[in-house]
């Protein structure tokens, strides 16, 4: 290697803080959205309306959660999913109800579309006994296991091997279920993913591993933290793969349904990159100096909820007044959830020692 001046040596690719050295690295490039209309995707008018309601609920729930956080109603971390709602919604509509879902800590949207009510979700954020995880998990650990939502996990990449275990058990028990695992682009750099992809392909596990590539691993643009195209990781494992436009719920639905059918039929895993965008910071304390306002606005201009709303109106699936009524209903539901969370009791002190072990009177070292 030719000698360089010491001042010219650098390692991580430069980003927003050194525009002169490489300029802005845009988070993600979206693949084209599907051109199919809902009927040709096999979706009824009512299903499309339900999709809209689900996405709108996720959005309003988090906007209210953010407000409550800022008011100091609860502490801890709050990672918002706003902007990514088409991914959770399109997927859940594509899967069967008993297919397994497991995700990372940006988990509110996933919980809401897998049976966690706004009340039990908001109460969980508040750390109340009425929360979906009895107030013991908080924002990062929503879970609704009886409806096959195995929860949100807080160690980046840590839940990916667990997803393969869910799939392993499904194959072992020949129950026809498939497992889906969602994680951010940051998790792509963890060894856990690579060990799991190898195991899953080798053992033909019925699983879909999905990168929700929202462009940023906390404050580091995807192109600054990982080499090449993320989806191409699949090639190294001989795994089937796809890239999906995550800003369009129909695109997510169409492709995820095809993939889910394929996994169910062949018991072979897929590696999928769904490109999307988060509007808010990584968590609530993020000043977001790593991206431009223009980039954010570009994605907000193709907002998945607005896009679906425009489609619904254009296709005459629902009227403006119908949608307004749905939105108002959801708004009220979320406000009621805030009241419910606020008025719910904190867990009893004795709860501190509950749920550590299965047995009634376990041993605790003192």
């Amino acid at each position: 290697m030719a000698k360089k001046a010491k001042s010219d040596i650098s390692f991580a690719p430069t980003g927003m803080q050194s525009p002169e050295k490489g300029g802005v690295q845009k988070g993600v490039d979206l693949p084209p959205a599907t051109k199919k209309k809902h009927k040709s995707l096999g979706l009824s008018n009512d299903q499309v309306a339900d999709m809209y309601a689900q996405m709108y609920l996720q959005r309003r729930f988090e906007e209210r959660a953010m407000q409550q956080y800022q008011k100091g109603k609860f502490g801890g971390f709050l990672h918002l999913y706003i902007g990514q709602e088409a991914v959770s919604t399109g997927t859940v509509f594509a899967l069967q109800n008993d297919d397994d879902i497991i995700t990372a800590y940006r988990d509110h949207g996933w919980g809401l579309c897998r049976g966690i009510t706004p009340k039990s979700g908001m109460a969980e954020l508040f750390g109340k006994a009425t929360g979906c995880s009895k107030g013991k998990g908080g924002s990062m650990h929503f879970a609704n296991v009886k409806e096959h939502f195995w929860g949100g996990y807080g160690i980046v990449g840590g839940h990916i091997p667990i997803a393969s275990g869910l799939a392993f058990a499904n194959k072992y028990q020949a129950n026809g279920r498939i497992s889906t695992c969602f994680f951010g682009d940051g998790a792509v750099d963890q060894g856990a993913l690579h060990e799991t992809l190898n195991l899953a392909q080798l053992w033909k596990l019925p699983a879909i591993f999905v990168v929700e590539n929202n462009g940023y691993s906390m404050g580091t643009a995807a192109k600054r933290h990982t080499v090449a195209e993320i989806v191409d990781r699949a090639k190294g494992y001989g795994m089937k793969s796809a890239v999906i436009n995550g800003m369009d719920v129909f695109s997510v639905y169409e492709k995820m349904k095809e993939i889910a059918d394929d996994v169910r039929e062949h018991s072979e895993p897929w590696f999928v990159e769904i490109r999307t965008y988060r509007y808010r910071g990584h968590s609530m304390s993020d000043p977001q100096k790593y991206r431009t306002k223009e980039e954010l606005e570009e994605y907000q201009s193709i907002d998945p909820i607005e896009r679906l709303k425009a489609y619904i109106l254009k296709e005459g699936i629902r009227s403006e007044a119908d949608l307004k009524a749905v939105e108002d209903g959801i708004e009220q539901e979320v406000l009621d959830a805030v009241t419910f969370a606020d008025e719910s009791p904190f867990p009893e002190d004795s709860e501190l020692y509950e749920d550590m072990f299965v047995e009634e009177n376990p041993y605790f070292h003192v």
């Binding site: 107030g135 879970a143 840590g158 839940h159 856990a192 060990e195 195991l199 072990f357 299965v358």
Partner: protein, 326 residues
């Protein structure tokens, strides 16, 4: 009673539990076609087939996590690590996931997984293959940690571990696999987790020793008996939950205690037992509780240094003489 090798005792336990419960399966490096790196799983592939005895790649993090997920989703995995020294790569799955998933979901998911394999040193294997991890894992809430010393304990406790609905770490030793001992042939022989055993009665000093160190303690006790010092040896068998009562009762009788532990000294099992004794039996003590542990030093390769590093009977004998003022 049948005389079995340590490895056979573990295998019999796994075999019996696999016959009893379809959900139990074994996975790990070389467990199936190779018949086990240390032959613990010998013959299980032939008997149970490829669905239930599964060779894994060398991906400790990956397959440990797979075990956690499979346990959450209705199975009862036995995950073999070729040694717990390699399980450090899987520590995230053990510490952050297996032990926490039930709690952080408010009780919605259980994780009945057994992680098993040899622990600690096994001769001149160098610095990275020689660490005792039982104390470290016992630090974390939500785990049961077993480190047995004899075939009978191995069988009874392995069966308990597999039936337990919580995550359990079951530790063995490469150097004990060939050790023979009488093993109960009682139908469905079980030793409850958390129960220690008085393995030698004596009135002068209590030796608390588990795992491989138990055998060092026995040698020391035999030597000391020749000099008229009678050691009582308590093998806790389970590090956590710890059978504190059994230890305390013995100390209240002998008034002296040496804790022999294969871990490094700082904040380990020996430190914990010493603390418990001072808190619960302070008035009974005729001498400070002493410990015999590894030094605060990595395992050396050279035989001369290795022998200096690993606790032996002499260190126990010296400690006993110190507390008995002989």
């Amino acid at each position: 009673m049948a005389v079995l090798q340590f490895r056979e005792a573990i295998k019999h336990a796994i075999d019996e539990e696999m016959s009893r419960d379809e959900r139990v399966f074994v996975m790990g490096e070389e467990v199936a076609e190779y018949n086990g790196a240390y032959k613990v799983t010998e013959g299980l592939l032939d008997k149970y087939g490829y669905k239930r005895v599964i060779d894994t790649p060398i991906s400790e993090l990956g397959f440990a996590g797979l075990g956690v997920g499979a346990a959450m989703n209705g199975l009862r995995p036995i995950v073999e690590f070729m040694t717990f020294n390699f399980a450090v790569l899987a520590a995230d799955q053990i510490i952050n996931h297996a032990t926490k998933v039930k709690y952080m979901t408010g009780g919605q998911a259980d994780c009945p997984v057994v992680f098993r394999g040899p622990n600690a040193s096994a001769g001149q294997l160098g610095a990275t293959h020689s660490v005792a991890y039982d104390s470290m894992y016992a630090q974390f809430p939500g785990l049961k940690v077993i480190y047995v010393s004899e075939p009978n304990d191995a069988k009874g406790l392995m069966k308990s571990a597999i039936r337990d609905d919580n995550p359990v770490l079951f530790m063995e030793s490469e150097q004990m696999y060939g050790l023979k001992g009488e093993v109960s042939d009682e139908q469905d022989f079980i030793i409850p987790i958390g129960k220690g055993k008085i393995k030698r009665e004596g009135s002068d000093v209590t030796l608390v020793a588990h795992g491989k160190m138990y055998h060092i303690a026995v040698k020391a006790a035999e030597e000391l008996a020749k000099e008229g010092i009678e050691c009582e040896i308590i093998d806790p068998r389970t590090v956590k939950p710890l059978d504190v009562e059994l230890i305390l009762n013995s100390v209240k009788k002998t008034n002296r205690c040496i804790v022999v532990d294969e871990a490094h000294p700082f904040a380990g099992f020996a430190a914990e037992v010493g603390f418990l004794i001072q808190r619960e039996a302070f008035d009974y003590l005729d001498a400070p509780v002493l410990r015999v542990t590894l030094p605060d030093v990595n395992a050396p390769f050279s035989k001369s240094l290795f022998d200096l590093w690993l606790p032996g009977p002499k260190q126990i004998i010296d400690a006993v003489k110190q507390v008995t003022y002989k």
